[in-house]
């Protein structure tokens, strides 16, 4: 069993925290893991991505081959589209809907939505709003992760909640609970969206 994931976003949106939680959960489940990150210049407000590979058997490449990615997790809708050539035909896109506009030629958001609509298996959520409703406005990335839990075959929701506890534990119980609430809100939203299909 394997799950190849691309995390995408803009520098500072917290995609590496998502990767850290998944990574922690994966290690506890004795899965093999490789995670390629981007550091340095690209982090300054540019597009950032991370290839995260999980597998029950050994992993060769740190990079995911084209057409083999099972899941794109994006904190930003246009950034989700950037990695389409990696996404397998049956792959899923879980993306936040709020555009991050820090460039003059950002495409029309309706065109971005239409393009996402054509991509097949897509769950788009207003992660900021879900996190806010859950009383944890700074945990949009965890709401997004919650939505992913609905399609992530290799790790279940409880394993990911344990990951959140392990990663945020040193910041205190209140922070842990806030993040888990946001996670649950995302999970619930994704469940409803899938039922509606």
């Amino acid at each position: 069993m394997k799950e190849d994931i691309i995390l995408a976003g803009v520098g500072g949106q917290g995609i590496l925290s998502i990767a850290t939680v998944i990574g922690n959960a994966a290690v506890k489940q004795n899965l093999n893991l490789k995670q390629a990150e981007v550091h340095g210049m690209s982090q300054r407000g540019g597009d950032v991505q991370s290839h995260l590979r999980l597998s029950s058997s050994p992993i060769s490449s740190d990079l995911i081959p084209h057409g083999e990615c099972d899941l794109i997790i994006a904190m930003e809708p246009m950034e989700a589209l950037r990695y389409l050539p990696w996404l397998s035909k049956k792959g899923w896109i879980i993306t936040a809907t709020a555009p991050f506009v820090n460039i003059p030629d950002y495409p029309d958001i309706e065109a971005v939505k239409a393009e996402l609509g054509k991509a097949g298996n897509v769950i788009a959520l207003d992660a900021d709003a879900l996190a806010k409703e859950a009383g944890s406005p700074r945990s949009a990335n965890m709401a997004l992760l919650g939505a992913c839990a609905s399609v992530l075959g290799i790790l279940d929701a409880d394993a990911l909640r344990d990951g959140i506890r392990a990663i945020f534990g040193r910041k205190g119980e209140a922070i842990v609970e806030a993040n888990i609430k946001a996670f649950d809100a995302g999970l619930e939203f994704a469940g409803k969206q899938q039922l509606g299909k």
């Binding site: 803009v10 520098g11 990574g23 290690v27 093999n32 893991l33 490789k34 995670q35 390629a36 990150e37 981007v38 550091h39 340095g40 210049m41 690209s42 982090q43 300054r44 407000g45 540019g46 597009d47 992993i59 060769s60 490449s61 740190d62 990079l63 995911i64 081959p65 084209h66 057409g67 083999e68 246009m78 950034e79 589209l81 950037r82 389409l84 050539p85 996404l87 035909k89 820090n102 460039i103 030629d105 950002y106 495409p107 065109a111 971005v112 393009e115 991509a119």
Partner: protein
């Protein structure tokens, strides 16, 4: 333990009995030193508490040359030392690095150079294996995080066995990729032990001594190559299909195996230790008439093999177009090179726009560039020489403030060179950390030449681009400039904030009108480190 490739190198060095890491920050190498800095009171894992006593030196050096020399001094004193840098740092330390092959090592000396093929955060794709060949020292090129850990320990052993520095060649995809690492044994640091009588002389590279040492180094190279032939990091894997033989160096091996999950049908030579073991390649050439060389970076092995193989052997690789000539390898280009059909792939979306990096909102460099552009309005011949750091992004819109960026320190000296040829006004823009790295000596030239230049030091009190490491000149910038001979009244300090634009523009203009060496220090703390410091205060 989940570790970045960089962190695996750091842990391998600590467990090998490291006494000091010497480095200047540079992507993708920074995390090696930071990992060691974060081992507060490192005493070695497990019960024995062997390592870290005395504490491992891990403060940043002023540049890669000082780092290399300090490490060489540590090795001379018998201790194990690690030097870390990005690939272009090798250019800065090339002098002591080349010298270290002539002096040899006393305590284990490992130089970790992290290459950046595809230039994710760099100005070129230079391949550090060239430096290992050039200096004629052994080189390791691990292909996984676990191998990075083990190869680092092994490199220290190799260094002490052969009394020679060893280059640890890393690449971005390994440096910045995380995987599980199972650490092994730890061992104690070396005691203070200066070179013995047999090795004492070679540390003085006078021509008469160097002429004797050089043939010895050449002789030793045969031993280094024998070690590579027998190395546990190199392996020859049999394959039934002899229509192609593959030499896969470092990470290329992973991309190859990614495409052959059930084993590669072709014979494969996996290489992670150099000098390149030619006998293994000749064995491959005895079985296969076509050899495909896969290597991350530049075609170092491919070029060498063209002169090694007997006639009738075809060598394929980056030079004949089997693999892309530039950029890092990936599973897809390797797939095409071994003749497999491409995977079914979705089309690239046509509506996506590039999102290049930009200076942070609230960054002091922004306010500095805004004021500089205002001050330069009306100066038709103005040229602004940039340098390496976050502020290189001043080239991008909306600022478009820079005309050049070459390497660390060139802002000062290129401005001087153009000024001496009659250009006016010639402005250098350099960061504080880059100034102490390689700008100070150029400023001395400017003073001695009475050059008509205005050097702007955009001081954010940190090494920001690599994540906010200590900057060697913090609190000393003006004193350094005055000590180098800049007239104190022409060392001006401004605070880059929008409310200060009028004053900033006035001061910059005054110094442009002064026909000698001026320094303008534009100082405000990096917005990222300022946030971090504020958060730390709250806690």
């Amino acid at each position: 333990m989940l570790l970045l490739g960089d962190e695996a190198v750091a842990l391998g060095a600590l467990d090998a009995g490291l006494s000091g890491v010497f480095a200047y920050p540079g992507t993708p190498s920074t995390e090696i030193t930071e990992f060691i800095q974060n081992q507060k009171g490192y005493k070695g894992r497990g019960q024995q508490q062997l390592c870290g006593e005395p504490p491992v030196h891990c403060n940043w050096s002023a540049n890669e040359k000082t780092a290399m020399e300090e490490a060489l001094g540590a090795s001379y004193a018998g201790k194990r030392a690690l030097v870390c840098m990005k690939h272009v740092g090798m250019n800065v330390c090339a002098d002591p690095f080349m010298g270290s092959a002539m002096t040899g090592a006393n305590g284990g000396l490992v130089v970790a150079a992290c290459d950046d093929p595809s230039m994710h955060s760099s100005q070129n794709e230079q391949d550090s294996r060239f430096y290992a060949n050039f200096a004629m020292i052994p080189c390791m090129e691990p292909c996984s995080q676990q191998e990075a850990y083990e190869a680092t320990k092994y490199a220290f052993d190799l260094s002490e066995k052969f009394n020679i520095p060893v280059l640890m060649r890393m690449v971005t995809r390994l440096s910045h990729s995380r995987a599980n690492v199972t650490p092994g044994e730890t061992r104690a640091q070396n005691g203070l032990r200066f070179p013995d009588a047999a090795h004492e002389k070679q540390w003085v590279t006078l021509p008469a001594i160097a002429r004797k040492r050089y043939p010895q180094l050449i002789k030793d190279n045969a031993e280094f190559e024998k070690a590579a032939e027998a190395s546990p990091f190199n392996k020859y894997v049999e394959g039934a299909d002899k229509s192609l033989g593959i030499i896969a160096c470092g990470l290329a091996y992973n991309y190859l195996m990614e495409n052959f999950k059930d084993g590669c049908p072709f014979p494969v030579l996996k290489i992670s230790q150099y000098p390149f073991p030619k006998s293994l390649a000749l064995r491959l050439a005895g079985e296969c008439k076509t050899i495909l060389v896969m290597e991350e970076g530049q075609p170092v092995v491919e070029t060498m093999l063209r002169g090694t193989f007997p006639t009738g052997i075809t060598v394929k690789g980056r030079l004949d177009g089997s693999l892309p000539r530039t950029g890092e390898l990936d599973p897809d280009c390797v797939r095409a090179a071994v003749g497999l059909a491409p995977r079914e792939v979705r089309a690239t979306s046509e509506i996506i726009a590039p999102r290049p990096p930009a200076l942070c909102q609230g960054c002091g460099h922004r306010d500095f560039f805004t004021a500089l552009n205002m001050a330069l309005e009306g100066y038709k011949g103005a040229r602004v020489y940039g340098d390496i750091g976050c502020y290189t992004l001043g080239y991008m819109p909306p600022f478009k403030a820079l005309h050049t960026c070459v390497e660390m320190g060139a802002s000062v000296t290129m401005a001087v060179g153009s000024a001496l040829m009659g250009g006016y006004p010639m402005i250098g823009v350099i960061g504080d950390s880059t100034f102490t790295h390689s700008g100070m000596t150029g400023l001395l030239d400017a003073v001695n030449e009475h050059a008509d230049v205005t050097i702007c030091i955009s001081d954010n009190e940190t090494t920001a681009m690599t994540g906010g490491q200590d900057s060697a000149g913090t609190g000393k910038i003006e004193a350094i400039c005055i000590a180098l001979g800049v007239a104190p009244e022409h060392v001006r300090t401004i605070i880059p904030l929008a409310k200060n634009y009028d004053e900033m523009v006035r001061i910059i203009k005054e110094e442009l009108e002064y026909h000698g060496v001026s320094v303008i220090v534009s100082r405000r703390e990096c917005i990222q480190t300022a946030k971090r410091h504020a958060a730390a205060k709250k806690q």
